[in-house]
């Protein structure tokens, strides 16, 4: 199965280079997404055995209990995005470029590769591959702004990832002669490793993977890239890519945890988490571009996730639950923002008025998405943030909890203010013909939001087990 996940997208994208029929491209994308969804859901809930049949790949690729959570995440997000892409790519007003489906496949391939890889060096190779493949997607519009965003994205992320590579090399130094980068070796021998090099390497890896994850102070690429990418790609970036960088941080954190220096790492997590929440909240109030608003909200939520790991215990569980809930709600919001952008032809909050009147269903999706992302009960994000606050109280971080709650309130105010401006009021361009999109522009968001709601009302036992197993893997 791993072989299929790794080779099918490569073969498909090579074949698609020679085919210029748009419908074939769309069919390939959707069929592969459906296959990916079956593999992802099957491996999590139906005991589908994921293994490789090629002996030389066997040591490098394996699905472990932490990876299966992330595989589920990318499967669902990619399926939704591929489905949304049917309408997005068929739209005659949009310029058709066949690089888009090809590089989307390569992007998913590199994310799969890094989720499955069992060697930190290989993990690095794939995380750099995600940067390179998604750069072409971000640049899809070929506008000045898109070019600028793409340049910043490639450049800042490549430097960040280069620093992560320094961290990986220092990790090898910590293990001394005969060390290798397989996770089994790293975890098995962490107790004997040199503490000085371990700490130094962790700082580099946190900065490096943190750049990719969008943690403050190395987040500067994120708002630009998310705002200028086509909306389905923004959904992929926020819903899947940022999380995979989080996977790298978690895997590096486990080494320190085993070596008995978990406190050091958790302190750094709390510091970066607080900074991200704070900066995210401040900019959410300030920006007047709704896609940038969503991007800053992603920074804030990434902060919440690392903060959860920093608190530890129940906080770790909350963090992983929050990762799933956030990626569904944020992917849904970004896809909906694509509908708004298509209908109003502007990203400015102040120029979008009367969304309910112009496109009733998009308005509702935007409204419910707001409730989901700002953690209203009974959405899944509320449950995860509730657990996080509970974990803080349990460990006596009262001041920290008050600080986080204050900034979450600020975020709620900022987002609700911006969203309500867009939802209500008189539509300025009444003479514009009523925008009618096909059902593919609504269905994925509806499913995502239902999933977030479901996570809040009732977490099914198998899903609960998956998150518990992932937590057990890190501890």
């Amino acid at each position: 199965m791993i072989d299929l996940l790794l080779f099918v997208p490569i073969i498909l994208s090579i074949l698609l280079v020679f085919i210029s029929n748009k419908n074939v491209h769309i069919a390939c994308l959707v069929l592969y997404a459906a296959f990916h969804l079956i593999v992802g859901v099957g491996s999590c809930f139906f005991n589908l055995k994921i293994a490789t049949y090629l002996p030389f790949l066997a040591p490098y690729f394996k699905l472990d209990s932490l990876g299966s959570l992330f595989l589920l995440n990318i499967s669902v997000i990619f399926a939704g995005v591929a489905f949304y892409n049917i309408g997005f790519l068929k739209d005659p007003t949009r310029e058709w470029r066949k690089l888009y489906p090809i590089f989307l496949l390569m992007f998913v391939f590199s994310i799969d590769g890094l989720i499955l890889s069992q060697n930190l060096g290989l993990f690095w190779v794939f995380i750099e591959a995600t940067t390179l493949s998604s750069a072409v997607l971000i640049c899809h519009d070929r506008s000045k702004a898109a070019l600028e965003a793409t340049w910043k994205y490639i450049f800042i992320c490549s430097i960040g990832i280069a620093l992560a590579f320094v961290g990986i090399l220092l990790l090898l130094a910590a293990y001394g002669e005969g060390g290798n980068l397989f996770f089994s070796y790293l975890y098995g021998n962490a107790k004997g490793a040199s503490v000085f090099w371990l700490k130094l390497s962790f700082i580099f890896m946190l900065i490096g993977f943190g750049t990719k994850m969008g943690l403050v102070p190395v987040h500067s690429w994120l708002p630009d890239a998310h705002a200028e990418a086509p909306s389905p790609i923004s959904a992929m970036l926020s819903g899947a890519l940022l999380n995979t960088a989080f996977l790298g941080i978690l895997r590096a954190y486990k080494v320190l945890e085993i070596a008995g220096k978990g406190d050091f790492a958790r302190g750094l997590f709390i510091l970066m988490g607080i900074m991200s929440i704070c900066i995210g909240a401040v900019y959410i109030i300030k920006v007047r571009n709704f896609k940038r608003l969503l991007a800053y909200s992603s920074i804030e939520h990434m902060g919440i996730m690392v903060l959860g790991v920093g608190i530890g215990g129940l906080g770790l569980f909350a963090s992983l639950l929050h990762m799933m809930a956030h990626s569904f709600s944020k992917a849904s919001l970004f896809l909906t923002s694509g509908n708004i952008l298509h209908s109003y032809k502007t990203k400015s909050i102040d120029q979008v008025k009367g969304l309910f009147k112009r496109d009733y269903y998009t308005g509702w999706l935007w409204m419910i998405g707001l409730l989901a992302i700002t953690a209203f009960p009974p959405f899944g994000t509320f449950i995860s943030e509730f657990y996080l606050i509970k974990a803080m109280f349990k460990d006596g971080h009262f001041f920290l909890a008050a600080f986080v709650l204050f900034f979450l309130t600020v975020v709620l105010y900022g987002m609700a203010h911006a969203f309500f401006v867009m939802l209500f009021g008189e539509d300025v361009k009444d003479n514009l013909e009523h925008h009618k999109a096909s059902f593919t522009a609504y269905l994925p968001q509806t499913v995502f939001l239902l999933a977030v709601l479901f996570l809040g009302v009732f977490i099914p036992k198998p899903f609960w087990d998956i998150i518990q197993n992932a937590c057990a893997y890190i501890k």
């Binding site: 060697n119 750099e128 600028e148 490639i154 430097i159 090898l172 002669e177 980068l181």
Partner: protein, 210 residues
């Protein structure tokens, strides 16, 4: 022997701080490729054909030939002016570069007390990474940013010589492939930015902000 080569490497970096010509940057990058080849050959304890081939491919072929060729082609194609256009005078650049490398030697002294790493390599590679970041933030042109990135990569290569004798070949190949594709994409984007903005300074790229 390798200590001597490392000192020459540091000297090339100091020269980089004072030179004002873009073509000199390309030449220095090529020289550094050759130096890295010599250093890795003199460092390797036992050389078999596979490792030798890989090192030669990565340093002599990629770092000393393909990348400088690609960079100078990009410079010619985009008619980028020959001057570097730094934000700060060369003299201050030289001072900052010297401070960075003094810090590198200081790191070397610290690293002596910790095992597993050859201290000089560690200190110099850290300083080179810092120097690459300094080149990026103190120069205006996009192409010099790409060169700063290559300097950072040279720094990590030095560090990998210092610690990683066991890096699997498949990983090293993937790493150099990624770096190469990254550079290629960067070059392509410089072409595109040039044709869209009609400028190649970072000043053009400051529209997106809050």
């Amino acid at each position: 022997m390798s200590d001597f080569l490392i000192i020459i490497f540091v000297l090339t970096m100091l020269y980089l701080a004072v030179t004002g010509m873009l073509s000199t940057y390309v030449k220095i990058l090529a020289t550094q490729g050759v130096l890295l080849f010599l250093i890795s050959i003199s460092e390797a304890e036992k050389i078999n054909a596979g490792i030798f081939l890989f090192i030669a491919l990565e340093t002599l072929f990629l770092k000393a030939m393909i990348i400088p060729w690609f960079l100078s082609k990009t410079i010619k194609k985009n008619e980028i002016a020959r001057e570097i256009e730094p934000y700060i005078p060369h003299f201050y650049s030289l001072i900052i570069m010297s401070v960075i490398y003094s810090f590198g030697f200081f790191l070397t002294i610290i690293a002596i007390s910790y095992k597993n790493v050859s201290p000089l390599f560690f200190g110099i590679s850290m300083a080179t990474i810092l120097a690459g970041l300094f080149i990026i933030i103190s120069r205006k042109k996009l192409i010099t940013h790409l060169m700063g990135y290559m300097i950072i990569e040279n720094g990590t290569f030095l560090l990998s010589l210092a610690v990683a004798k066991e890096m699997p070949l498949i990983v090293s190949l993937g790493v150099s492939l990624d770096i190469f594709i990254g550079l290629l994409l960067g070059g392509i984007f410089i072409n595109r930015i040039r044709s869209t903005f009609d400028e190649h300074n970072i000043d053009a790229l400051s529209n997106l902000k809050d």
